[in-house]
Symmetry: C2
Subunit: 189 residues, 2 copies
């Protein structure tokens, strides 16, 4: 079928959905986050994109630490709420039970099955958003979410996000092993 | 249950899985890509992280264009293969039927339901990988993958990737509308 050019404003398909945790003036704040990725294997760096006007940008610059928390599907209403209201206008500090890890100033959400904490390394400036590049300092989870000492997606039950239709989805069934199924196509083995 | 710190090498959970297309010395090349995200809304920027040693890094620097193609689950074997073999050693130019868009030098995969083409804007250097920041120039799809003129995940049927367990997964069922379900928690409405 014929290819059509639909728009310049295309999105990654699908995106993870996470909650970006910061602390500012003794208040914790969480922002809904779909623009997040691993940036470097060694050292373990991650990058997030945050709109310049968001309170989160100010908080990361000030405290130089932040967290990325992966909610399960049962938390989708609260996760979406964090994307609807600004920390400038609404205090989100009572929304979740929180804890701190080694960095002490990056609040994490107890109910999230998986949370990573970061130390800010650098900021890459763009017109409307900035990339915050952070070094992963710890990955927090609970024994109940692990299989063979690794996070198990069936136990964690995270969501993914699609734009511009703006929907949240579950993760479905296993298709194949990565760095493995493709071996069938190798001619020299 | 008690939180445990499992590692510094944590990952985004889950990640999209895409194929990064480049052209180098008249050959097209595709790399399996999980480290990709939107970076800025206006202008529409995207960033990908690519290991410095990959042929893809050289190709993007040279041609200053690249593509990100989202395969469907039926293409997972070929997608994984692109992550297993280096373009330096193996010619991957016959693996897919390709086409070009407006930029002319960013090869895209016909069978992928959704492909975006980018013009390189900047490179952010890190120890083992670099971020390539690209401006989205076009989003290519086919009418059969659209509902209400937007990409429809049930028609596109993409995969997601989890690490470090290294598995591919389907996307499951719709949970809720984004920027909507959270309104239930607003107190001032």
């Amino acid at each position: 079928m014929e290819k059509i050019d639909i728009e310049k404003n295309g999105f990654v398909y699908p995106m993870p959905i996470a909650l970006l945790g910061t602390k500012i003036e003794d208040k914790v704040n969480f922002m809904a986050l779909g623009w997040v990725m691993r940036a470097c294997m060694n050292p373990p760096l991650l990058t997030v994109s945050v709109n310049k006007n968001h309170l989160t940008s100010k908080a990361i610059r000030k405290n130089k630490t932040f967290s990325v928390n992966f909610p399960n599907v049962d938390m989708i209403e609260k996760t979406d709420y964090c994307g609807l209201v600004s920390g400038k206008m609404t205090d989100k500090s009572d929304l979740f039970e929180i804890y701190y890890g080694n960095l002490k100033t990056a609040p994490m959400i107890k109910k999230c099955p998986l949370s990573l904490e970061y130390k800010l390394i650098d900021i890459y400036e763009m017109p409307t958003s900035n990339l915050f590049i952070g070094e992963i300092k710890s990955t927090y989870t609970e024994k109940q979410y692990l299989t063979d000492n690794k996070p198990d997606i069936k136990k964690i039950n995270p969501a993914v996000l699609t734009m511009p239709d703006n929907n949240y989805w579950t993760v479905g069934k296993k298709i194949a092993k990565a760095w493995n199924i493709g071996k069938n196509l190798k001619k020299d083995d």
